[in-house]
């Protein structure tokens, strides 16, 4: 995109906004900046707690399952799919914004529908992953007794291995750090909440496009603002992916 701004143009002489964007878009940026610090604070709190522990679960071991694949050891495969879905939905969103610039109603509708589908797919993947972590139990040695527990915000089975001790063919572990479940479910849940809001806003944009609201207005700037939010959600996932699954 090209703009024809003369060199040395004076932005601060008054009578105009020095930001060259509409009030709504500027406020969306400011909101996203504040949300960056909310997510930043959550992820940094997670990092602080993690480095304060001697032992922390290995993500390649925790996230190694895939739907319909049983107990096959597939580290990071499912989360890669989730990441791909979210990047792809970001691309379809930016294509919707692009069609909006050209004021092509049909194009905006089409790409918004793909974006909504991507959002639902991502949420479905997250629901599966949570269900799997919570309901899939493993033997853990607690107070000298072996108990079958899943991963929740209160307990998890990702502690150090008790070598040589097996229970029904499964390796027995010690309880993992409680903070692992707290931060994982807390932060991915907060991100999923953002995705849900994004899907809702995209559905709203789809119906507003459908009933000709933006055709009457003469521009699709509202789609652009929702697009900014949707890309931000993708951006947050880049760092959630980094902090929980990769590092």
């Amino acid at each position: 995109m090209s703009t024809h701004i003369p060199a040395g143009y004076k932005w601060w002489t008054g009578g105009k906004s020095p930001y060259n964007v509409s009030y709504g878009k500027l406020m969306m940026w400011i909101f996203l900046l504040s949300d960056t610090f909310t997510f930043g604070a959550l992820l940094i709190a997670y990092g602080t707690i993690r480095v304060s522990h001697d032992y922390w679960p290995d993500p390649n071991h925790v996230f190694n399952t895939f739907p319909l694949m049983g107990d096959a050891n597939l580290p990071l495969a499912f989360v890669s799919l989730m990441t791909f879905i979210l990047i792809m939905s970001s691309v379809t969103m930016v294509l919707a914004v692009h069609e909006g610039h050209k004021r092509n109603k049909k194009g905006v509708e089409k790409w918004l529908l793909w974006t909504i589908l991507g959002g639902f797919l991502f949420l479905g993947c997250q629901a599966w992953e949570w269900t799997h972590l919570i309901t899939h139990t493993h033997p853990v040695l607690i107070d000298g007794k072996i108990q079958e527990i899943g991963a929740t915000i209160k307990e998890n089975h990702f502690g150090p291995i008790v070598s040589g001790l097996f229970h029904n063919g499964h390796q027995v572990t010690l309880p993992g750090p409680v903070a692992f479940g707290n931060s994982f479910f807390g932060i991915t849940g907060f991100h999923g909440f953002h995705v849900s809001i994004g899907v809702f806003l995209n559905i709203l944009m789809y119906f507003w496009t459908l009933n000709g609201r933006f055709t009457r207005l003469g521009h699709y700037e509202m789609v652009e603002k929702v697009g900014l939010y949707w890309h931000f959600v993708d951006l947050v996932w880049v760092f959630v992916f980094l902090c929980f699954y990769l590092i």
Binding site: W11, H101, D143, G144, V162, P175, G218, L246, I247
Partner: protein
Amino acid sequence: MEHANQQMAIAPEITFQHEPAPNTKRIWKTFWILLFLTIAELALGLSHYAFHVEGWLLMFLKGGMIILSICKAVYIVSIFMHLGDEVRNLKLTILVPLLLFIWFILAFLWDGVAYKNLRNKFNVPAPTEQAAPLHDVQKPGTLD
């Protein structure tokens, strides 16, 4: 005041209107870059699992993944969110406050490490770890 392109006035705050991009080439190029960076990240993440990397090399791999993630963030913000095409005043308003993260991350991780050192120095071992004397418990102290 000079108005460049009046045909599509979104808001009076906008002095210079952006022209729509002629095609979607840039979008798809960014998509391939993001996909490539993600695959590179995954390769690094899986390699330290497959080869049981430890110590400084592990730190190096993790540093690589952090740098790749920041590259992805730059592409998303600059191209998808169009911040790269906005005027300098808006760019600085959004990006300068992010410098706070430098202090934020350093100070808090430092504090976490200090807390770990204090705990290892002064805490007595938890009773659950003593209650399993028959079995050789894996020695704590590493992330892996």
